[in-house]
Symmetry: C2
Subunit: 198 residues, 2 copies
Amino acid sequence: MINFLNNSSETPYVIFKNKYDEALDANQSSIEAISISSFSHELNEVDSRFVNLKFVDKKDFIFFSNYESQKALQFKSHDQISCLIFWNKINSQIRMKAKIKKTSTDFNKKYFSNRDRKKNALAISSNQSKEIKSYGEVKTNFENVLEDKDLYKCPPYWGGYKFEPHYFEFWDGHPSRINKREIFNLVDGEWISKILQP
Amino acid sequence: MINFLNNSSETPYVIFKNKYDEALDANQSSIEAISISSFSHELNEVDSRFVNLKFVDKKDFIFFSNYESQKALQFKSHDQISCLIFWNKINSQIRMKAKIKKTSTDFNKKYFSNRDRKKNALAISSNQSKEIKSYGEVKTNFENVLEDKDLYKCPPYWGGYKFEPHYFEFWDGHPSRINKREIFNLVDGEWISKILQP
């Protein structure tokens, strides 16, 4: 589930929310899964992964991460990302482009203090994307943190990322393959929409 | 569906095929959907979209596209891509990195000559990702091509892309969130595997 804190009345946001509601009604599983693609100028390399989109707050899309992970390094190297959602139950793909920023420490602390303690134990115990000897060791680290640590204190290496898209594409698949593609481009504060060929 | 033409016996390919078979048994919908992320040095911008993965032929993953589309321009600008599959029915994510190349003209012609004529009419009629006045005009162009053209002759602006990953990550989600991550990195022709922290 994505938590909509406040709704923007700008057209692409309204479409996004309507499609979300449709997908939810259609029992879309993993509805919060969003692919985030990033670039490292140092490695000259594109990278991608799915994350869970947690909030949409007005025009900000928000997810959480370890701030020392590979993706965090990539966001530091290149602060522009592309995002991708595919809700197969309604055959809709949503593409977005945006600049990415960290959420505030206050926001992170507040969110962390209200999360499930097991999720927090994992966030505290995991040195995200770093090598480890075995999957067993991941579990041991988790169990140790679960017993010993203050599980509501947000570690400095954990928090949110937010992005406000300047580009949306709504792609609606059609059985005939004559798919519908509508884009919205933010130009000088105005959303310019176009139809693209499939 | 993905069509496995020939199977590689290298470990990450064997794992890939096993996971595919598991997802297929679990009735995974859109099982062929794969996100392809690319970079444009000219625009200094990452971009992503889902495509249909059509073939795995030994170590080559193959999909088809218009060769004048945005993604084609991006592949020309930067020939490295990242790829992402999420099979929610088995809670598995597969991440890959690779260099991308065009398939041969012969391969494209042969494949095109055996495809469904309506799919071909769409490939011929659509100036992919270019603006058009309306969705109605997309349909009119399609109908015109369907009536008038040789639908089995592959146009020069359409064909396949293939990539042979040098990096795989198999991410298996776990209800506890203690997800399992195993990577395979091709170093001097050898696959080096590691476990990553979740």
